[in-house]
């Protein structure tokens, strides 16, 4: 497919630590095939953070479960290519994946309480991963758990290591999850909405923690969130997903300041801000996200898009737009939209003016 070849020529395809090409994840359900991810390509280098933004059902979590091989193998059809440091993951056996998971790549889940076992102490759960991958003794694993808890900022780690998850507060649980994910110094960390359930003050602490740890170890991070504000604080690159596809990607500042896709523009416009005007209504995106059982033809955003009529010939409803850079923007900044650069300049200008004021 021309989509990924076009993009991969712009980023040095060989150098990337994680490279996902034309990934497709389809689930078969009673109602039919759900095309949860439909042709997604991206690359990630060591020490960088990729922020994946999208609404519920856009396929952001599924993508990452597929990378880790945590999908339901019986009902999922995978296609494409996922290379982690040159190793193909989609065709890897369960044994090979088991060796990688928790060791070379690991994940932080959204709901820390549901992801920790209530029957085991926090220390035992952190140590378990370590023992599995390094063959360390129980005593060594406990020492390592204490060290990890200290590193993520849990007070009195030598005491708290023997606590059960219910004795931890929400923020501390999330820290314990991070400690568990980082115990083997993974090179790839996938964080799936790690701060969504947390209060803003704790969220700020967790984001700072992740950034410090990244600087220390050079971890590559995929940060999944629906909050563009969080993205603007933590990500180097941004990938915007809609209906199982990438609609826009590029550097953080490029995407957030000068979005190329109407969906990104819509997301930015629907967020209230702390210093914007208050008496004007927000500009939400009309309609609701598409069903992935029967996704719309052509551009999946076109039924909700304010600009679909500006593109002549019903192109948006029939042809899938390619993810390509726009004239006058950097090579890395690409969007999948039929609007011409001139049209974009004209229609998006109002928005840009509104943001500055």
């Amino acid at each position: 497919m021309s989509t990924h070849t076009q993009v991969s020529t712009h980023t040095q395809a060989g150098a990337a630590f994680l490279s996902v090409r034309d990934l497709k994840v389809h689930f078969s359900t009673e109602d039919g095939v759900v095309r949860a991810v439909d042709g997604l390509s991206f690359e990630l280098e060591r020490g960088r953070t990729l922020g994946i933004v999208g609404e519920s059902g856009s396929g952001k979590s599924v993508t990452n479960l597929a990378i880790l091989g945590l999908h339901d193998r019986g009902r999922t059809a995978l296609d494409g290519e996922v290379l982690l440091d040159g190793k193909e993951l989609l065709t890897a056996t369960e044994r090979e994946l088991e060796r990688l998971r928790g060791n070379k790549m690991s994940m932080i889940f959204q709901d820390a309480l549901a992801s920790l076992s209530p029957y085991h102490t926090v220390g035992a759960q952190i140590g378990e991963t370590y023992r599995k991958h390094t063959g360390a003794s129980r005593r060594e694993a406990r020492a390592r758990a204490v060290e990890m808890l200290r590193r993520v900022g849990i007070p009195q780690p030598d005491v708290r290591v023997d606590d059960y998850p219910h004795q931890f507060s929400g923020g501390m649980r999330q820290r314990a999850m991070i400690a568990m994910a980082l115990v083997c110094d993974p090179e790839l960390l996938i964080a799936d909405e790690p701060t969504t359930a947390l209060d803003v003050t704790v969220q700020a602490q967790i984001m700072d923690l992740l950034r410090d740890l990244q600087q220390e170890f050079g971890t590559a991070i995929i940060f999944i969130t629906h909050d563009l504000g969080v993205i603007s604080r933590i990500a180097d690159d941004v990938l915007v997903m809609y209906g199982g596809r990438c609609v826009e990607k590029g550097g953080r500042a490029e995407v957030l300041r000068a979005p190329l896709h109407p969906y990104t523009l819509g997301l930015l416009g629907s967020m209230p801000s702390l210093d914007g005007p208050v008496d004007v209504p927000l500009s939400p995106i009309p309609g609701t996200p598409p069903s992935l059982l029967t996704p719309p033809q052509g551009c999946r955003f076109h039924p909700r898009c304010a600009f679909a009529e500006k593109v002549g010939g019903g192109l948006c409803g029939s042809n899938r737009p390619l993810l390509e850079p726009s004239e006058g923007h950097s090579e890395r900044h690409a969007a999948a939209c039929h609007l011409t650069p001139e049209q974009r300049r004209e229609y998006f200008a109002d928005y840009a003016a509104a943001r500055v004021n």
């Binding site: 209060d199 604080r233 927000l282």
Partner: protein, 337 residues
């Protein structure tokens, strides 16, 4: 009662949930001080935002005002009537005027009832028969909240999260209330849908003149929706002010820290000050003495531990801008209009 009385007047509102323990006889061994002495007012047609972190007592406050919970102490006066300990029968007269919108659009609608029945339920309960019949009224309401009246006979599972929240709004509007307590009405929704519902609520507030107690943890949403905002911390109000005063000139250190922690898309263009609070919110079972924020405050002194700061107007503040702090932040000299 004069005409200038606020619609809702809350003073010294307190709710302590008892903790039972001990063996063999269970007795009360302590209390979760969820709400500990709140004073605030909501004027007719006004929207008061209530913000704070989880566990600070904002939802409990909402439930006390709708009298879904029985207050431990304090007074709630609605339109001049004391409803603090009003009986079920006495409340029946007030309940049509105070309605609630819930956070979770999935669990707050009965899956076995049609939309028509859900929205008509308040009329059924209060025995109200509007001119033209209940069904017509429901169809009008569905249209008001931006749903297709044809969907009258559908069930909740046929709707998306945003549409379900609209159904919840329609139900709250059925009896033409004067006060709506909205408990995190948009936090379960996606960003693009969230904006749709915020706009809907804002239109309703302006057009129908309904007063709102808008409970949320998202400071940007509250700023957008509420003319006045109260910040809660561990069961108490630490600062209450007009929207512009609070967001542009916060005087309580907690308010400032909270505002600085909000991630904003515009961050990279104009970095704002960042205050990193350390640690977690203390337990409401055994809250710190004096000022409850002192354990995380960078300005705390001995005075903060011994004296509880009163919620008062601090020098340099506009009228109605109250803060509870011994060492308030300096007022910003340039107050934007």
């Amino acid at each position: 009662m004069t005409i200038t009385d606020p619609l809702l007047h809350v003073s010294g509102l307190t709710k302590h949930f008892p903790i039972r323990g001990g063996f063999p006889v269970k007795r009360t061994v302590g209390a979760v001080r969820a709400v500990d002495g709140l004073d605030f007012q909501v004027a007719e047609g006004e929207s008061l935002g209530l913000v704070g972190e989880s566990g600070c007592g904002k939802s409990t406050t909402g439930r006390l005002i709708t009298r879904l919970l029985e207050p431990t102490a304090g007074r709630i006066t609605y339109a001049g009537r004391d409803i603090t300990h009003a009986s079920r029968r006495q409340l029946a007269a007030v309940r049509p005027e105070i309605q609630m919108i819930f956070q979770d659009p999935y669990s707050s609608l009965n899956p076995r009832q049609t939309i028509g029945r859900i929205v008509a339920a308040p009329m059924e309960i209060h025995g109200i028969n509007p001119a033209g019949g209940r069904e017509r009224k429901v169809r009008e309401l569905l249209e008001t909240v931006g749903l297709n009246p044809e969907h009258y006979n559908r069930f909740p599972h046929e709707f998306s999260g945003g549409q379900r929240q609209r159904i919840g709004v329609a139900r709250a509007l059925t009896l033409s209330p004067k006060l709506i307590v909205a408990d995190e009405p948009v936090s379960a929704l996606d960003v693009s849908i969230q904006a749709q519902v915020v706009n809907l609520l804002q239109t309703l507030q302006k057009d129908l003149g309904i007063a709102f107690l808008f409970i949320a943890h998202d400071l940007a949403v509250v700023r957008h929706f509420s003319q006045r905002v109260a910040v809660m911390y561990l069961g108490r109000i630490v600062e209450i002010a007009n929207r512009s005063d609070l967001y542009e000139n916060p005087r309580h250190p907690y308010t400032r820290a909270l505002l600085s922690a909000v991630p904003e898309v515009t961050d990279h263009a104009r970095p704002r000050e960042r205050i990193l609070l350390t640690g977690d919110v203390p337990s409401p079972i055994d809250p710190p003495s004096g000022c409850r924020f002192r354990t995380r405050c960078w300005k705390a002194t001995d005075q903060c531990a011994t004296e509880t700061p009163p919620l008062t107007r601090i020098d340099g503040n506009g009228t109605g801008h109250l803060a509870a702090c011994h060492h308030p932040e300096t007022a910003r000299t340039t107050v934007a209009v």
